[in-house]
């Protein structure tokens, strides 16, 4: 029986040996149900054990295995060889991030931005400046109130939207799609009272106004989140904030 073969080009970079990345081609036995991540595991197990890539859950939950497949940001576990066969596949580390090694990128900038936007519920404080006491009961939320932010909370921090964003590529100071979406998720939560603090981040040039509505972030998102929508809605809020500020300075 003739085993079908698919050629996979991988952009490799070994910091201790290489000054520049280079492409290495591997022949992988093709099967229709094999994901790109499984193909990488096959390569590591049978062809070249030195190849590095991130992965964990194998089911589009952990957000670790993001990479460029033929120039498009994808999760390795959610992209399948059958969608490319018999053409060859080119794999590169996620665009717009520095390469640590092979398909592993440095995500520090993205993680810092996620932390910067205060991604936690900031509760309302009473006149004495204290938070509501536990004995006063829980913060309530109706299904309707949850629906206002639900899709923005589905992000798995895989970074595909940053790899898809030309504005982030051109200016690394731009806060970017996923962090702004997470910001919108908390601002739209009825239990949160931190909007005023976060609007300072939103209103900056590097905040929502760094976005020119390319919209590719929403196309590549593997979880159906719509970062472009979150950012446009924040632009509306930012404009309102600006107008109100003109008449009622703090």
């Amino acid at each position: 029986m003739n085993q079908k073969i698919i050629e996979i080009d991988i952009l490799r970079y070994r910091p201790e040996e290489d000054d520049h990345p280079f492409t290495q081609t591997f022949d992988v036995p093709y099967s229709a149900d094999m994901s790109i991540l499984e193909a990488l595991q096959y390569i590591k197990d049978h062809l070249d054990s030195s190849i590095s890539f991130r992965w964990s859950c194998r089911m589009a939950i952990c957000g670790s295995c993001g990479l460029m497949v033929n120039g498009v940001p994808k999760l390795g576990c959610k992209a399948f060889l059958r969608d490319y066969f018999p053409k060859r596949i080119s794999l590169e580390p996620l665009a717009n991030f520095p390469i640590e090694r092979d398909l592993v990128v440095v995500m520090d900038d993205f993680i810092n931005k996620l932390e910067e936007i205060k991604p936690y519920i900031i509760p309302e404080k009473n006149e004495a400046g204290d938070k509501k006491c536990l004995s006063e009961g829980a913060y309530k939320q109706t299904p309707e109130q949850m629906e206002k932010y639900r899709q923005f909370s589905m992000c798995i921090n895989c970074g595909l939207c940053y790899a898809a964003c030309p504005q982030y590529a051109l200016d690394k100071k731009f806060i970017g799609p996923a962090a702004l979406t997470l910001l919108a998720r908390y601002n739209r939560d009825n239990r949160d009272a931190g909007s005023a603090e976060r609007m300072k981040i939103v209103n900056q040039e590097e905040g929502v106004w760094g976005c020119t509505f390319v919209g590719y972030c929403s196309v590549v998102c593997p979880k159906g989140v719509d970062p472009a929508a979150a950012i446009q809605l924040l632009k509306v809020e930012s404009s309102k904030d600006y107008l109100i500020g003109m008449f009622k300075p703090e």
Partner: protein, 129 residues
């Protein structure tokens, strides 16, 4: 000692040519150049109108030039392209909730087209009557 040496890839200047999605985005943004030229010609016409009938007729005549007609046709194509792509993106910037449900994208898009048609008909009526 750390062997870390992160490698930063350069963004090629033709990045927007490598992905059809980016090319379409650049065309949408690029339409602003042609629309600016169109607006300048129109503003020029208003200025000529203020200078009297002879000046305005001269402007009208200049518009008969095949080059001017071609320019306006290209500007029309770009303006339509911008309009269609912009309308299809409009629901992302609209946050209307009715009875606990977000207004359907299709309703928002058709609303935009309806407003577009009404405005066009009104303009045509004002010009022709």
């Amino acid at each position: 000692m750390s062997k870390r040496k992160p490698y930063t890839r350069e963004l090629p200047t033709d990045w927007w040519m490598k992905q059809l999605f980016y090319t379409k985005y650049m065309l949408r943004e690029g339409s602003s150049v042609l629309i600016s030229i169109y607006s300048l010609i129109l503003a020029w016409g208003v200025l000529r109108l203020s200078q009297g009938e002879v000046a305005f007729n001269g402007w009208l005549e200049a518009l008969q030039n095949p080059f001017a007609i071609l320019l306006h046709l290209i500007a029309l194509v770009f303006a339509l392209y911008h309009t269609i792509t912009w309308f299809s993106l409009a629901p992302k910037a609209v946050d209307l909730w009715i009875k606990g449900k977000r207004l359907d994208d299709k309703v928002i898009i058709s609303g935009h087209y309806a407003a577009f048609i009404v405005a066009t008909v009104l303009c045509l009526l004002i010009i022709t009557l």
